[in-house]
């Protein structure tokens, strides 16, 4: 048996700085540590500030999902102040949240997952040429259109919010804008155009309706061979390739999930409360652990700092949360190794466990029985998990499956906007209170907890999806969800462990790009570069 330790610093193409340390035994990862390497202290800055400071600050935590940060920061205040939110305002918030996410889906697939798919070490596989022709960064035929067209969904965001990224247009009681008819028609045509060109034309090779008929893994397999257009779609090419190079065999993780849900029903959440939230969610919240479903209850969330660079050990609920950074050099002596706290959820009868968040989690909740009429009810991805188990491949498929679903949502909300109705009702501003706001960013559950005293922020705590997924070990030495997913991953080339990239990137730990670091204008130069770079 040979064991080696590999320190991957930086592991790029994720938001912020991530370092990964893995132990490899006989060519397979046997243990892993994820290390977030940067701290800015936004929670500390927010303390003592204006209650609405979170609307300015939190979108700037992450430039990739700033709209999602705004969505939940606003609901944290709505619940703390007890506002009335007109149905129109909720529709606009939903349109913006979904637009940000459908922008992120193709950008992430082509710019983050795509390059890994074309890594030189796969060049001897039969489909390599076809995959490289499509997905090679920058020169790939699908890459260019997929990434370029992804600019358009956030144009809809800009029509309602002024700009993307970093708008603060959602405010307690509604939204700042009052859209006009041309705002809606323009948004509709931008959306339809993107749907026709990329989603149906390039990605699915069929209509959105045809894709949404698929309910099982065997449906998908039949769909892949139904006709030439579907067989040649980017999606079908990806599925065949993923199986060819083994992306369905690693990156499993715990198989336990948490979703906080999103897309509040415009008519059922006009008076936002923490307790009324679950029942008003179109995309449902919930926990799936050891094969069982549980309702989501924010009171069961804690953050553990035993292995994170903060004072002390143990865990707290975010309303009582404390953020006191220490020098990482000191922290290392105490067994601490990252800036990410370890979020845990107290599952009834099981106790505090790490849970994976993201598209797999959301789609597992979509399959939970007993959905209300307006709630998303969709068995497809759960069937994939039951048939194939979690893996890099199923995580990617869950993510991509949301593009047609969210596309339909935005169409509907745009149609339902009542331009003569209210978009904002001025709230009263109680000087004290507690609030909780949550949503689903593209890569998972995103929540704010706020405590107001004397008309100021007394405490503000944010738990990001990246926190849930890349968080470290806890006091009981349970390893984090992404750490768990690395274990069992085969590593072919320790100098360029592309498999680790694939696992990390499958969590949509985020970012995108249109350009990669090479000077290539042809596929030939590209592969030469990849050989050299790898």
């Amino acid at each position: 048996m040979t064991t080696m330790e590999l320190n991957v610093s930086p592991l790029g193409q994720v938001e912020g700085d991530l370092d990964v340390r893995v132990q490899i035994t006989d060519g397979v990862v046997s243990d892993a540590w994820t290390e977030a390497a940067m701290f800015r202290g936004f929670e500390i800055i927010l303390k003592g500030k204006d209650p609405q400071a979170g609307l300015i600050m939190t979108p700037r935590i992450c430039g990739i999902c700033g709209g999602s940060h705004l969505y939940k920061a606003c609901y944290a205040l709505d619940t703390a102040w007890g506002t009335y939110v007109p149905p129109n305002a909720t529709r606009v918030r939903n349109i913006a949240q979904a637009s940000e996410t459908i922008q992120s889906i193709p950008r992430w697939f082509y710019a983050i997952m795509g390059p890994d798919l074309t890594a030189a070490q796969y060049s001897s596989f039969p489909s390599y040429e076809e995959v490289a022709r499509r997905f090679a960064p920058y020169v790939g035929t699908s890459y260019q259109t997929g990434v370029t067209l992804s600019q358009h969904p956030v144009e809809i965001y800009a029509i309602f919010g002024g700009q993307w990224p970093h708008s603060s247009f959602m405010i307690p009681g509604g939204v700042m804008c009052a859209p006009t008819l041309s705002d809606v028609t323009r948004s509709t045509s931008i959306l339809e155009n993107w749907g026709r060109q990329w989603l149906e034309g390039q990605w699915l090779g069929c209509s959105v309706d045809r894709w949404l008929e698929n309910k099982t893994w065997s449906d998908i397999q039949a769909w892949m061979t139904e006709n030439e257009s579907q067989a040649n779609s980017d999606l079908a090419v990806f599925i065949r390739w993923a199986q060819e190079i083994g992306l369905d065999t690693y990156g499993q993780g715990y198989g336990n999930f948490l979703a906080t849900g999103t897309f509040l029903n415009p008519d059922l959440y006009t008076n936002p409360t923490v307790d009324g939230r679950n029942a008003a969610l179109q995309s449902r919240s919930g926990i799936y652990a050891n094969g069982q479903y549980y309702d989501f209850d924010q009171m069961r969330v804690t953050e553990d700092v035993t292995h994170a660079y903060y004072e002390g050990t143990g865990s707290r609920h975010p309303w009582e949360g404390v953020t006191e950074p220490i020098d990482p050099a000191e922290g290392a002596k105490q067994g601490k190794y990252t800036w990410a706290k370890a979020p845990r959820y107290d599952v009834p009868d099981i106790g505090y466990v790490p849970l994976e968040v993201g598209p797999l989690a959301r789609q597992m909740m979509a399959a939970r029985p007993d959905a209300a009429d307006f709630q998303d009810s969709d068995p497809l991805i759960k069937n994939l998990i039951d048939e194939l188990g979690p893996s890099v491949m199923t995580r990617v498929l869950a993510r991509m499956h949301e593009a047609p679903k969210y596309f339909r949502n935005v169409q509907r909300w745009l149609k339902e906007l009542d331009l003569h109705g209210e978009f904002y009702v001025k709230p009263t501003e109680p000087s004290s209170g507690k609030g909780f706001g949550a949503t689903e960013a593209a890569r998972g559950a995103l929540c704010d907890w706020i405590v107001l005293e004397d008309g100021k922020i007394a405490n503000y705590q944010v738990i990001t999806p990246t926190g849930w997924n890349i968080g470290p070990r806890d006091a009981n030495d349970n390893i984090g969800p992404m750490e768990k997913s690395f274990i069992g991953t085969p590593i072919e080339n320790p100098d360029f462990p592309v498999e680790l990239g694939q696992v990390a990137h499958s969590f949509d730990s985020c970012l995108v790009c249109t350009v990669h670091a090479y000077d290539g204008k042809t596929g030939k130069q590209l592969s030469k570069f990849r050989m050299g770079g790898g």
């Binding site: 940067m38 950008r107 700009q163 247009f169 006009t180 978009f423």
Partner: protein
């Protein structure tokens, strides 16, 4: 061929995301038409670990020279000046900046954080964040010091904004790559004058309401009329940016969508340090006079003009202009 090395310090990647939305030129155009070689970008490049270090380390040791060093995010000095709150490839990011910036042809700060320290530098500034050559509030100095010049003899070129607009970024990079550094006139905050001389208000669709001093009754429902300067804290009349000349996402701007300008291209952003009562509310003296007046005005002339404007306001200026 112009080489670009892009690093992120105390950053949210917002400027990178914004950059990818660039249209004229697009990021693809930059590579194909303008021969830009992005040698490394932490989120754009697929190299990880040692393969990544092998690419950027030679620019720190001096074995190779980078033409343009782009820095996004603040320079983090905490704790106690060590920079260990922001490690990158095994070292504090600030040490990479120390090594690379003086050896680079031109240094470009992208976004507020790299320019002035930005949001992380809002008190109590837990990460001791600084801009490359300015500190929050606009004091010249920053991390590299007031006298810093790059190999080309230029101070840091600042492209602020939270985020910076994609076209400001890509157009300045094109200008530098095309050898037009000498044409680049910089203002007191080392911002390219071509973008940062006019005001956010220049081109704002609400400017006629400003003229007649008409404000909307509230957000949302009232946003079909009125100027946001008088009550809602809009800084459009005193902020330098082309937000209403070069639209965002080719569609709109904050002020057009009913969102007060927050002044994010200026060193004071966020103004009032986000203290109680400062968010989306115009700060006033004696309940009447705006604490910050439109650029170049004093309170006497402001009051005289405001009184006159209101008195002569035509009927249409009190009605909806942006109608369904």
């Amino acid at each position: 061929m112009t080489s670009v090395l892009w690093f992120q310090g105390g950053a949210c990647s917002g400027n990178t995301m914004s950059f990818i939305n660039a249209a004229e030129p697009s990021v693809v155009d930059l590579i194909v038409d303008f021969g830009l070689e992005i040698v490394y970008h932490p989120t754009l490049s697929m190299e990880i670990g040692k393969a990544a270090q092998d690419i950027f380390t030679p620019y720190a040791t001096g074995e190779k020279e980078i033409d343009i060093f782009v820095y996004e995010g603040s320079v983090i000095e905490a704790p106690s000046g060590s920079g260990r709150f922001n490690m990158f490839a095994g070292r504090p990011m600030k040490d990479w900046v120390d090594d690379i910036a003086p050896k680079a042809g031109i240094v470009v700060a992208i976004g507020d954080c790299a320019t002035y320290g930005g949001l992380p530098a809002v008190p109590p500034n837990p990460s001791n964040s600084r801009g490359l050559q300015f500190d929050r509030g606009g004091k010249r100095g920053g991390y590299l010091g007031p006298d810093f010049v790059s190999k080309a003899g230029l101070p840091v070129v600042n492209i602020p904004g939270c985020p910076a607009h994609p076209d400001w970024i890509s157009q300045i990079i094109v200008a530098l790559a095309a050898g037009r550094a000498a044409d680049l006139a910089l203002d007191e905050f080392q911002r390219p004058k071509t973008f940062f001389t006019s005001f956010t208000q220049t081109g704002c669709t609400r400017v006629q309401f400003y003229t007649y001093k008409q404000d909307p009754p509230s957000f949302g429902q009232g946003m079909r009329t009125g100027c946001l300067f008088y009550e809602f804290g809009c800084r459009g009349p005193m902020t330098h940016s082309p937000c209403n000349r070069i639209l965002w996402n080719r569609q709109s701007s904050k002020t057009r969508a009913g969102h007060p300008c927050t002044g994010c291209t200026e060193p004071g952003f966020p103004f009032g340090d986000l203290e109680k009562g400062t968010v989306f509310k115009t700060q006033k003296v004696a309940g009447v006079i705006p604490k910050d007046e439109p650029a170049g005005m004093d309170s006497g002339s402001y009051m005289a003009l405001a009184g006159l404007s209101r008195a002569v306001a035509p009927k249409w200026s009190k009605e909806d202009m942006f109608v369904v």
